[in-house]
C-alpha cells in the first residue's frame, strides 16, 4: 500500500517548489516528483531591448544568487559582439563571483540547511561548559568559545522560547528521531547560526565596492564601471582595495574557523547519510574562474567536464556550442513545443507556456502528465546533476592538486571512502570544500589584481564596441558560468542592435528537472528514491536531501514566449 507525501511549500529555499513522494509500506520513497510552481517569463520580457541592459533584468532572476545572471548575461553579449574585457575586469568579476560563493554557501549551510540537522529545542538542555569544551575541540582557532559565551546564547534562546512566540522555529520537527546531535552540538550550532547571520552582511561590501550595492550589484558589458585610480580618492584606490583585502581575510577565517569545523562535526554524527540521497551519479560542469579569458577553459579554476555513472576515471569533454549536446525537453513540463517532445538547444529555443496541471487549489499533481514549470535539460540525452558536488568530483577526477588535497583530508577526518561522496552528506560536504577553495582563490585573485596594477595596467573597460553602431546586424553568442548552484548558460541572439531571442538554462533547471520523454528522472527526484522516512507527516529526510542541492526555483523556471508567436521564429537546422 503506498502513501503520498506532499511537501508544498518546500521552505528554506529560493522560490516555489513542491515535492510529492510516494512511499512503500515500509515508508521508503519509491517514486518522487519535483515541481517548480512559479514562472515569470523574464526572457520574453528581454525581447526587443538593448543588450547592454540585459544584465540588470537577468540579475533579477534571483536575489539569493545575486550577480550570477548578470555575469552570464554580460558574457553572452560580449561573446556575441566579440568583446574581450580587460584583465582587471576579469579579475574584479572573479572577485565578485567568488565573494558570492563564500557568502551564499555559508548562508546556505547555517540559515537554509542547518535546521534539518540541528535541533534547536534540544539546545536548551545543553551545558554551557561542555559546549565550550566541544567548540574548542572542534575549532581551536575560533576566538569565541567560552562557557560564558555559550551561556549567553543559551539565555537568549531560552528567553525567546519562554516568550511563547516561537517565530521561525514554530510547528517544526524538533524531537524527530532523525535528529542525532547531542544538546551541546545543537547549542554550538545555534550560536554559530547567529554568528554567521552577523557576518554575512559584511562580506558583501566587496560587491558594494565594485558594483555599488548588494543585493544586485551593477555589471557592465565590456568590463566594469568601477574605474581604478590609485592616485585619486573618487575611484577604486588603496583604501577601497584594503577594505576588500580585509573582508577577504575575514571570510577565510569564517570558512576555516567556523563553517568547515561545524560541517565536519555535524557530518560525523550522520554517517548513515553517506548512503542516502546519491541520485543520478552523473555530473556536469561548464567550468569557470578564468585566468586567461572565458575562451580558455584549460586555465579555469573550476575545470570543465562531465562524469557519467560515478566513473571518476573518465572526465568527458563538453562543447557548449554543439546543439546536440545540451537540449531541453518538455514532455512533463507545462510548455508545448512545435515538434512535440523533441528536445531543443537553447540557441534554437522557443517555447509556449501551457499549464496543464490541476486547477488550484489542488491536492496532488499527476506525475504521468505535465507537472512542473521547470523544463528537462539533458546532456547528450543524459540527466545530470550540477553544483558543488559536480565541481568537486570533476576537479578531483581531473587531477587538480587542491581538489585532491581538500577531499582527501575531509574523507580522512570522517573516515570515509570516496563512495561516500555520492550522497546527501557528500553533496553537503562538497559545498563546504569548494567554499574552502573559493576563499583561497579570493585572496589569489586579489593578489593578481595588485600584480596587474603594479605592472602598470589600470584599464577596467573596453569601449571599442560600446556604441551599437559598431555592431554587426545579426549575431549570436553565449555566456557560460559556474554559479554557486551549478552550471549556468545564457544564449543571446542580437538583431538590429536589439535582443531578438534570449534563452537561459539554469543550474536548478538541471537539478529540479522533471522526467523526460524516456522517463529519466531529474536530480532531485532521483536523489529521493530509497530514502526511508521515520514519520511521513514530518518530512525531515526529504528536506535534508532537497536542501543538499540548494534549490533556487526563481532561477529554474524557464522562458515563455507570448502566445501566438509564429513558428517561423524557430531556427531548424
Amino acid at each position: 500500500m503506498s502513501k503520498r507525501v506532499v511537501v508544498d511549500p518546500v521552505t528554506r529555499i529560493e522560490g516555489h517548489l513542491r515535492v510529492e513522494a510516494i512511499l512503500d509500506d515500509r515508508n521508503v520513497i519509491g517514486d518522487a516528483i519535483s515541481s517548480g510552481t512559479m514562472w515569470r517569463g523574464i526572457e520574453v520580457i528581454l525581447e526587443g531591448r538593448d543588450p547592454r541592459d540585459a544584465w540588470a533584468f537577468c540579475e533579477r532572476i534571483c536575489g539569493v544568487c545575486t550577480t550570477v545572471h548578470a555575469l552570464a548575461s554580460v558574457r553572452s553579449v560580449e561573446s556575441a559582439l566579440g568583446i574581450t574585457v580587460p584583465k582587471n575586469a576579469e579579475i574584479i568579476r572573479n572577485i565578485m563571483q567568488l565573494t558570492q560563493y563564500v557568502q551564499d554557501h555559508v548562508i546556505h549551510f547555517y540559515h537554509l540547511h542547518a535546521l534539518d540537522w540541528v535541533d534547536v529545542v534540544s539546545a536548551l538542555k545543553a551545558d554551557p561548559a561542555a559546549t565550550a569544551a566541544l567548540a574548542q575541540k572542534v575549532s581551536p582557532s575560533w576566538p569565541t568559545s567560552t562557557p560564558g559565551y555559550f551561556s549567553d546564547v543559551a539565555g537568549t534562546l531560552k528567553k525567546f522560547v519562554d516568550s511563547g512566540q516561537l517565530g521561525i522555529f514554530q510547528n517544526a520537527y524538533w524531537g524527530h528521531p532523525a535528529y542525532k546531535l547531542p544538546p551541546e552540538a545543537n547549542l554550538m550550532a545555534v550560536a554559530h547560526y547567529l554568528e554567521a547571520l552577523k557576518w554575512q552582511k559584511e562580506i558583501v561590501k566587496i560587491h558594494t565596492v565594485f558594483g555599488g550595492k548588494n543585493p544586485h550589484p551593477h555589471y557592465l558589458v565590456g568590463g566594469t564601471a568601477s574605474a581604478i585610480n590609485m592616485q585619486g580618492d573618487n575611484a577604486i584606490n588603496m583604501e577601497r582595495l584594503e577594505l576588500v583585502h580585509g573582508l577577504i581575510k575575514d571570510a577565510q577565517q569564517i570558512v576555516e574557523g567556523l563553517y568547515i569545523p561545524d560541517l565536519m562535526a555535524i557530518a560525523s554524527f550522520y554517517p548513515e547519510w553517506t548512503t542516502i540521497g546519491g541520485g543520478l551519479g552523473s555530473y556536469m560542469v561548464y567550468g569557470d574562474i578564468p585566468q586567461n579569458g572565458v575562451n580558455d577553459p584549460s586555465k579555469f579554476k573550476f575545470p570543465r567536464g562531465v562524469i557519467l555513472n560515478k566513473n571518476l576515471s573518465e572526465v568527458l569533454p563538453i562543447d557548449p556550442s554543439d546543439t546536440n549536446q545540451i537540449q531541453e525537453e518538455v514532455s512533463h513540463s507545462w510548455y508545448k513545443y512545435p515538434n512535440g517532445t523533441k528536445g531543443l538547444h537553447p540557441s534554437e529555443g522557443i517555447t509556449d507556456v501551457n499549464y496543464t496541471g490541476p486547477k488550484p487549489p489542488y491536492a496532488q499533481l499527476d506525475e504521468n502528465n505535465g507537472y512542473s514549470f521547470v523544463k528537462a535539460p539533458r546532456w547528450k540525452g543524459h540527466a545530470v546533476e550540477v553544483g558543488p558536488l559536480a565541481r568537486m568530483l570533476v576537479g578531483f577526477a581531473s587531477g587538480h592538486d587542491e581538489y585532491k588535497e581538500v577531499v582527501t583530508e575531509a574523507l580522512g577526518r570522517l573516515k570515509l571512502t570516496p563512495a561516500a561522496l555520492f550522497s546527501t552528506l557528500g553533496r553537503t560536504a562538497a559545498r563546504g570544500l569548494e567554499t574552502r577553495l573559493a576563499a583561497r582563490w579570493l585572496l589569489a585573485e586579489y593578489d593578481r589584481l595588485i600584480a596587474n596594477l603594479k605592472a602598470g595596467d589600470s584599464a577596467t573597460a573596453d569601449t571599442k564596441l560600446w556604441d551599437p553602431k559598431t555592431w554587426p546586424a545579426d549575431c549570436k553568442g553565449f555566456g557560460l558560468e559556474e554559479a554557486p548552484r551549478g552550471a549556468l548558460g545564457h544564449w543571446i541572439h542580437i538583431k538590429d542592435q536589439k535582443i531578438a531571442n534570449y534563452q537561459i538554462v539554469v543550474p536548478s533547471t538541471w537539478n529540479a528537472s522533471p522526467k523526460d520523454a524516456q522517463g529519466q528522472r531529474g536530480a532531485y527526484e532521483a536523489a529521493l528514491l530509497g530514502t526511508p522516512m521515520a514519520d511521513p507527516k514530518r518530512p525531515v529526510e526529504i528536506l535534508r536531501t532537497i536542501h543538499s542541492f540548494d534549490p533556487c526555483l526563481a532561477c529554474a523556471t524557464h522562458v515563455t514566449s507570448p502566445e501566438g508567436e509564429t513558428l517561423a521564429e524557430v531556427i531548424v537546422r
Partner: protein
C-alpha cells in the same frame, strides 16, 4: 496606531478595567502566594504580565527573486538577529522557517485567527493574475488566493520592494503573467510601499523600527512610500552634484572623468528622477552606492523603471507620475536630447547662482519642495 489596538497584556487589561498599579502589584503578590511561589517570583510575574507580545508578522513570497529578504538580513542597525528575536515575531517566512509543507500553512491560519486584526502582512513579490493565477502557487493554491485570504484580517500591509510596490521586472512589458503590485490587488487595508530592487536594508528595518517605536505608521507620500526614506531625489543629495553643476561628466567608461569620479548623468544616471536614500545613508552599512562605484543609477525604486530604458540613455519620456514633490521642471523639459538638456540645465543653474543674493541660498526647482 491606537493604543487600544495593540495586543493587550494582562496589565493593560487590568488597567483598562480601572485597576491601579498598586492594586496590580498586590494582585501579583497574592497570585504568587496562591500558586505556592515564593516572594522571589513576584517580580517575574510582574514582568511577564507587563511584557508586550511581539507583533506577529506574516511574510509572504509571491513572484519574486528574494532580494528583499536578502537585503533585510544585511541590516546593520538593527541587525537581523535582534529583529527576529526581540522586535517582531516572524511567524511565517518560507525563506527562513524550520517547518515545511502543511505545518507552514497551519501556522499561517493560526496566526490569522489568534491575532485577528493585529498581525502585519509583509509581502515580497507579487501575484500573477493571468489564467487564474496558476503561474505562482503555494501549497497547491494560487498565490493570489493566499494573498487575499491573508490580507483579510491583517492590521496593515508592508509591500516590500519594487515587486510588491510597483510590479518590477515580471510586470515589465509584456508582463506575461499579468503580475500586479499589492495596491492593485488589495483594498481596504493600509499599505506601506517600500520600493527598490531591493530596498536598502536599513530602509526596510527602519520602517519596522519606526512602527514599533512610535506605535504609528510612518507618513506616506501619494505613492504610499514613507516620506522619511523616499522624500528627496538622489540627484539633490548626490555627492557628485558639484561635478554636474560644474559640467564635468563621465563621457565613456574608464575615461578621465570616470577615474576622477565625475557626474554620471551622461551615462544615463536616473538620479534626477529617483527618490530613495541611496545617496544619503547608502548601501551595506553605508559603504557605498552604485554612483560612487562608478555605476549610473537605474532608478530601481521608481515605478516602471524597467520600461524607462535603455539605462544608458537619457530619454524624454521618463514619467514622473503622482509624486509629492515638484520635479525639477527645467531639468525635465530639457531631457529631450541629453546634450542640449544638460547644457541648458547647467546654464540655468549657473545663472541662478550668479544672480542670487549672497545671503540667499540658490533657489532651485530641484530642491524637491512641495509648491
Amino acid at each position: 496606531m491606537d493604543p487600544s489596538d495593540r495586543t493587550l497584556t494582562t496589565y493593560d487589561v487590568l488597567r483598562k478595567h480601572g485597576v491601579d498599579r498598586r492594586s496590580f502589584l498586590r494582585f501579583c503578590t497574592q497570585s504568587a502566594a496562591a500558586l505556592g511561589l515564593s516572594a522571589a517570583f513576584v517580580p517575574k510575574m510582574v514582568a511577564a504580565m507587563e511584557t508586550k507580545p511581539r507583533i506577529p508578522v506574516l511574510w509572504l513570497h509571491g513572484l519574486e527573486c528574494t532580494c528583499c529578504s536578502e537585503s533585510f538580513i544585511r541590516s546593520s542597525h538593527p541587525i537581523a538577529q535582534d529583529i527576529i528575536l526581540n522586535l517582531i515575531s516572524l511567524d511565517y517566512d518560507d525563506t527562513l522557517q524550520a517547518a515545511a509543507g502543511f505545518q507552514v500553512e497551519e501556522i499561517r491560519r493560526k496566526i490569522m485567527k489568534d491575532y485577528k486584526g493585529q498581525y502585519i502582512l509583509a509581502v515580497e513579490g507579487n501575484a500573477s493574475t493571468k489564467d487564474g493565477g496558476v503561474y505562482c502557487t503555494v501549497g497547491g493554491d494560487t498565490f493570489l488566493n493566499v494573498l487575499q485570504e491573508t490580507a483579510k484580517d491583517c492590521k496593515a500591509i508592508v509591500a516590500w520592494g519594487s515587486c510588491a510596490s510597483n510590479g518590477c521586472v515580471q510586470a515589465a512589458k509584456p508582463n506575461p503573467t499579468g503580475a500586479k503590485p499589492i495596491r492593485e490587488l488589495i483594498t481596504g487595508k493600509p499599505i506601506i510601499n517600500v520600493p527598490g530592487c531591493p530596498p536598502i536594508a536599513e530602509v526596510m528595518t527602519g520602517v519596522l523600527a519606526y512602527i514599533l517605536t512610535f506605535d504609528a505608521l510612518p507618513e506616506l507620500d501619494r505613492q504610499g512610500r514613507p516620506k522619511m526614506f523616499y522624500g528627496q531625489r538622489l540627484h539633490d543629495k548626490c555627492y557628485r552634484r558639484a561635478f554636474f553643476d560644474a559640467g564635468q561628466f563621465v563621457e565613456a567608461w574608464d575615461d578621465e572623468g570616470a577615474r576622477k569620479g565625475w557626474c554620471l548623468y551622461k551615462m544615463g544616471c536616473r538620479g534626477p528622477t529617483t527618490y530613495n536614500s541611496c545617496s544619503t545613508f547608502k548601501w551595506n552599512c553605508g559603504q557605498g552606492w552604485p554612483v560612487n562605484s562608478g555605476n549610473p543609477c537605474i532608478g530601481c525604486a521608481e515605478d516602471n523603471f524597467w520600461d524607462n530604458g535603455p539605462f544608458y540613455q537619457r530619454l524624454s519620456n521618463v514619467l514622473v507620475p503622482g509624486i509629492d514633490s515638484t520635479p525639477d521642471k527645467i531639468g525635465e523639459t530639457l531631457l529631450v536630447a541629453s546634450g542640449v538638456g544638460v547644457a541648458a540645465h547647467l546654464t540655468v543653474m549657473a545663472t541662478r547662482k550668479h544672480f542670487s543674493k549672497p545671503e540667499e541660498p540658490a533657489q532651485s526647482e530641484n530642491s524637491g519642495q512641495k509648491e
